[in-house]
Symmetry: C2
Subunit: 362 residues, 2 copies
C-alpha cells in the first residue's frame, strides 16, 4: 500500500476539527454580509445600518450555546472570534475564515465573482491565535471568464502555500453561482447543471498544487428539484423533477470518487429539514461530515435583539437541530479512512526519524 | 475589580491544557537522560548504549495507553512527539519541552547547573507543530553563583519572550538541587531548606518580566521527613521529623500566595503513594493540578522490552494511578479562578474591539 506523508501541524489540526471518531460535526458562524442582511430584516433597517455590536453579540450567543455541540466551529476574526473566544470549550476545534465577505462583480455579464482575502489578516495570524484550520470560501464557476477563474485559483494556491508554511489544515469551501443568461438562483436550468459544476470543482481542487486538506462543498444537486421532494416538501413551491434520489446518491458517490481529500457538506442557507436530507445522503455516499451554519441556527434570528428568547430557541430547537445531524454521522467516513489515508497505519509523519526535530521547518 | 488582559493564543492554549473544569491533569513523558538511565538498568546496559528506538517505543506505548487520561501530555520533540503523534486523541492538549536534557555543571563546587535549550529546536517550531504550550525545565537555586543564576534567568526571559511572540502559553518547571557542602539529595539539611527554596523561586518567577503562564513546581517539602511519614511509610527508610502536615500545608498556602500565575505540582520521580499525598495537600492549598510523570508510569519500565506486559501494566496499574489522582482534583483551583484572573468575567481579550484583527500581531 502506498504510504501517505503528513506534517505534524496538519495531523494535529485535523484531529482538532473532527470528533473522537474522525467525523466532522462542524458549525459555521462566520457569515458577515448575509448575516447583516438577516439582522437588517429583523431590525427593520438597511444592511449597512446594522452595527458591529449586533453581529458581535449575535455570534457570541450562538457560539456560547451551540459550539459545545460541534466538533469544531468556524468563525470570522472580525466580529466573532474576539468577542466569543471565552466560550470555546476544550475540545471544540476552531476554524477562522480568511476571505473578505462577498466579492467583486466581474466578467462580461457582471455576474461573475472575484474573491479577495481579508485585508490586515493572514494565515500567520490565524496560526498565532491558536486556530486549528484556515477556511477559505471561493465563489466558483469553472466556466467563468478565464481571468476570473485564474484569479480564484491563484487565491486558493496562495492560501494553500501559506497553510503549508504555517502547518495548518486548509479547508476550501466552494460555492457556485448562476451567471449564464439562462440561469437564475432557483431555476431548473441552474439546478440541472449543479451536479456537474460541483463534480468539476471537486476534481480541480483535489489537485495537490492547491494544498487543500478538506473540501467543503455544496450538495451536488438541488433537492427541491428531486422527484421525491419537488412537490414543495421544503418550501411549499412545486417544481419539475430533474433527478431522483438514486441519481443524486450517484452524484454524491462521484464526488467521493473525485475528491482527493475528505469532503464535508455545507448548508448554504437551506432549512434544517433539507439539510438533514443532504447530510443523510452525502454521509451515506462517502462524505466525512458537515460544516453547517444557517440551517442549524437561523431560527434564532427572528428573536434578535431579545437575547433571552434567542438563547431559549438555541438551547431547545438549535440543540435539537444539531442532534438530528449527529445521529446521521454514524455513516460518515472518518477522515483517516478516506482513500487519501486508508487508515492510520498507512500514514506517516513527514521526515520522521531521529532528526525530525532538526528537519522540521520553522 | 482590576481587569486582566490576555492574548488569543494564550487563552486558547490554557483551555487546551486544562480539563473542562479548568484543572490540570497533565502527564509528563519528556524525560530523556533519566529515562535512558532507567532503561539501561532494565536492559543491563550502560545509559549511552540505550538506543533512539528504545526511547521512542517506550514513550509511544505510554502515550498510547495513558495520554487519553490526561488533560494534556508533555513530550519531547526528539524521541516522543514524532513517534507518538498519531496517539494524541482529540482533546488531549500537547506540551513540548524546550530544554536540553541535563545541564552543564557550573559554580565553584562544580555542583551548580546551567541549562540550555535544545539546539535546532525553537518556540516557533513548537507553535508550528500545533502544540498548545512550551515547557521549560530550569534547575534552579537562587543562592547559586550570580553568573549561574543570571544565566538561568536569561534563558527563562528568552523563552518567555518567544512565547509572547508566538502567542503560546509558557509552562516553567523549576527543580532545585543540593550544591552546598552540607547538602545531599536525601539529607535532612537539604529537606529542611526545601520550603524556602521553592517559595523563593515561585516568588521570583511570578514577576511579569519572565512571561510565565503556569508554574510547574516541586512540592515545597519532602514528605519523607514529615512527622506523619518519617517512619519509612514510602520507602522503608526512617528519617527525622522536620515538619508536620499542618506546617507543610502552610508552605503550600504560602506558595499559592506568592504564585502570580496558576501553579501545578510535579512528581520528580517519587512513587505514586507519595505523589498522591503531594497532590492531595497541594490541591487543597491552592494548586491548580499536577503535571506528573514517573510517579504515574514508571512501574511499566520493569517490563521493557516486553511491550505486551508493559501495556498490561499501563492499562491496569497505570490507569489506576491516574484515577487516584483524578479523584483529588475536585479541590484544585481552576486556572480561571486563580487570583490572576478571578473568573472569566474579569478577563478580557487584549486589544479587543472592532479592529482587533488588524491590531493582532503577526
Amino acid at each position: 500500500m502506498e504510504k501517505v506523508f503528513i506534517s505534524a501541524g496538519k495531523i494535529r489540526g485535523l484531529k482538532a476539527l473532527a470528533d473522537e471518531n474522525g467525523r466532522f460535526k462542524m458549525m459555521a458562524i462566520d457569515q458577515r454580509g448575509s448575516l447583516k442582511r438577516m439582522l437588517a430584516k429583523v431590525l427593520s433597517k438597511e444592511a449597512d445600518e446594522v452595527k458591529y455590536q449586533d453581529l458581535a453579540e449575535f455570534k457570541t450567543i450562538i457560539i456560547k450555546v451551540l459550539s459545545p455541540y460541534s466538533s469544531a466551529t468556524l468563525v470570522d476574526p472580525i466580529y466573532g472570534y474576539p468577542n466569543a473566544i471565552k466560550y470555546f470549550t476544550k475540545g471544540t476545534g476552531l476554524l477562522l475564515c480568511s476571505e473578505e465577505t462577498g466579492g467583486e462583480k466581474a466578467g462580461k455579464s457582471g455576474k461573475e465573482i472575484k474573491s479577495s482575502l481579508i485585508s490586515d489578516w493572514t494565515v500567520e495570524k490565524t496560526k498565532r491565535t491558536g486556530a486549528n484550520a484556515v477556511k477559505l470560501l471561493i465563489y466558483y464557476r469553472g466556466d467563468a471568464s478565464p481571468d476570473v477563474v485564474n484569479h480564484q485559483k491563484e487565491i486558493i494556491r496562495e492560501v494553500g502555500r501559506d497553510c503549508r508554511q504555517y502547518d495548518l489544515p486548509f479547508v476550501l469551501e466552494l460555492v457556485n453561482y448562476p451567471f449564464l443568461p439562462d440561469e437564475e438562483k432557483d431555476n431548473a436550468t441552474f439546478a440541472r447543471r449543479k451536479p456537474k459544476i460541483v463534480k468539476d470543482y471537486v476534481e480541480e481542487f483535489s489537485r495537490s498544487e492547491y494544498g487543500v486538506d478538506i473540501l467543503k462543498v455544496e450538495f451536488p444537486a438541488n433537492l427541491k428539484f428531486a422527484k421525491e421532494y419537488c412537490q414543495g416538501e421544503f418550501d411549499g413551491v412545486k417544481r419539475e423533477a430533474l433527478y431522483d434520489l438514486s441519481e443524486i446518491k450517484g452524484f454524491c458517490r462521484e464526488v467521493t470518487a473525485l475528491a482527493g481529500v475528505p469532503w464535508v457538506i455545507l448548508s448554504a442557507g437551506v432549512d434544517i429539514d433539507e439539510f438533514v436530507e443532504n447530510v443523510r445522503i452525502a454521509t451515506k455516499s462517502g462524505a466525512s461530515g458537515f460544516l453547517g451554519g444557517r440551517a442549524i441556527w437561523q431560527g434564532c434570528a427572528d428573536y434578535y435583539p431579545d437575547k433571552e428568547a434567542m438563547e431559549e430557541w438555541l438551547s431547545t430547537s438549535g440543540v435539537n437541530n444539531f442532534k438530528r445531524l449527529h445521529q446521521l454521522l454514524q455513516e460518515a467516513t472518518p477522515y483517516f479512512e478516506h482513500k487519501k489515508f486508508k487508515g492510520f497505519p498507512n500514514f506517516y509523519l513527514e521526515k520522521k526519524g531521529p532528526d525530525w526535530y532538526q528537519q522540521y521547518e520553522s
